[in-house]
Each structure stands twice: as structure tokens, then as C-alpha cells.
Symmetry: C2
Subunit: 123 residues, 2 copies
DNA sequence: TTAACTGCAAATGGTTTGCTCTGTC
DNA sequence: GACAGAGCAAACCATTTGCAGTTAA
């Protein structure tokens, strides 16, 4: 656990804005000015493999990262591009329904919601 | 509707393998040898905007395309990388649950399942 | 010590785009 | 004749990678 990896993880854990690698890079640069973007990517990938963070790479050119590895879903505002957490428990239900409808063994699923957030609706 | 666009759409509609742009390009090249990859991409994007096809760009470097625009989900085999359709109707249920759990207006969602397909289990 | 990791910069590669040419109405 | 669309090749750009130097254990 180098200071770079630690700073990246802490930066990600201390925000709820589901940032891109570039955003994290700029944040961490305040603390470690000569850190490189390659290091940020390498560590994000490492941490994701370890299950400490989540990668949100659904249908966009930029991946976003989430420091909360526990099961939850995401909502993307189609107006302001913000990403919010959604805590509803569907894991078993969904996997079971897919299991029953197919001859496959379902291990997991990925689910994202899209719409307009409350802030954008009121403006 | 040029012959290129027609060939691309027909190629996509006549397969259930959820191909990549490159696969479609190679298929269509049999019929129109000097078609370019740029044309394939331009037409796939156009057709997706028109709602005639679906783009599957979930967490992978390659996008895949689906010629069936009707609502359905997908299963990705983690072993052989195949993609299969899953027909279960969850649309209203899921959107409603997310609606109730948040202050947001839910318009749509994207859901993908992962696991091992029947062929890979038996080999 | 040494295996893992960093910084830097160049490479990667799927996708997009600019430009010119062509086919269609 | 105008205009949407094609072909070609170059550009894009987020991400990855090779390498030489550095650091944590």
C-alpha cells in the first residue's frame, strides 16, 4: 500500500460524486503533485480487482468509480450527468427470475437507472 | 436507405450473436467489398438513434449491437463471451421500485446478467 | 535485498470525423 | 443540381504499457 494507492482510495472513499479517473487524478495531485495519471489508472484497476471499489463503465466513454463496494445501484441524471446511489435490494429476486427463465447459471447482474434528478426537475 | 445501410441492418437482423461493429463490417464486405468501417459505424449509430437497433456498450472495450429493438435483457457468458437474449418483463416493476426509493423521475434502466451458459457448463 | 510500484512518455485501438466524391431524387 | 451518404485516411482520446528509476517491507 503505497502513499499513492492510499491517497487514491481515500479520495474515492471520501466523495459521493462517482468521479472519473481524471477527476481523482486532479484531486490527488494536490497532495502528491507529481503523481501520474497512469498510476491512478493502475491503482483503480488494482483496487477494483481486490473488490475494494466498483467500476461504473456503462455505455460512456469515461469510466466512473465508486468507493463503496457494497451492493447498490446507480441513477444517472440525463440532464446534469450526476450519478446517485440507489439502495434497493433486488439482487436475489432478479437473479432468480433470470435463472428460472433461462438454462444458464446466473452469477450476477448490473443494473443502472436513468432519468431526471430532483434538482434538475426544480429548475 | 442506401444499399450499405440496408445491408448492415439486414446482417444485424439475421443473426442472434450480438456482433461487434467489426464483425458486421466483415460480413457486409462479402456483399459490398469496398464498404468502409466508418460507414458501418455511422450507420449503426444512425440506426440506434432511430430506435431500429440497440447498442450494448456495457463495460467492455467493444460495443455490441442487437437488431431487436423490443425491450429485452441480455445474458453474458463469463466463459465463452457469448451474449444471449433474456425475455422477462421487469420494466414497470423495476422503474416503479426505483421511483419509490428516490426523489428522481425514472425514465429507463439498463440491466445485464452474467454467469455461465448451458453449453459451457456441459463441457 | 528485492519484489512491487511509480513517473514518464509512447503506444493502443475502438470509434469518430474531415474531406472529397458519388449516387439518388 | 442539390444533398444525403459513402470511402478513405487521419484524428481522437480514454486507457494501457514498457522501461528505467524508486520505494515499501
Amino acid at each position: 500500500m503505497t502513499k499513492q494507492r492510499k491517497a487514491i482510495l481515500e479520495t474515492l472513499k471520501s466523495t459521493d460524486c462517482h468521479p472519473t479517473a481524471d477527476w481523482i487524478y486532479n484531486e490527488v495531485k494536490d497532495e502528491i503533485p507529481n503523481i501520474s495519471l497512469g498510476t491512478v489508472y493502475r491503482n483503480l484497476n488494482f483496487l477494483a480487482e481486490q473488490g475494494e471499489i466498483m467500476v461504473l463503465d456503462y455505455g460512456s466513454t469515461h469510466s466512473r468509480y465508486d468507493g463503496t463496494p457494497e451492493q447498490h445501484y446507480h441513477f444517472h441524471c440525463q440532464e446534469c450527468d450526476s450519478v446517485y446511489d440507489i439502495h434497493i435490494n433486488l439482487k436475489e429476486t432478479l437473479n432468480q427470475q433470470a435463472d428460472e427463465a433461462t438454462p444458464f447459471t446466473i452469477n450476477e447482474h448490473r443494473l443502472e437507472f436513468y432519468g431526471i434528478c430532483d434538482k434538475c426537475q426544480n429548475s
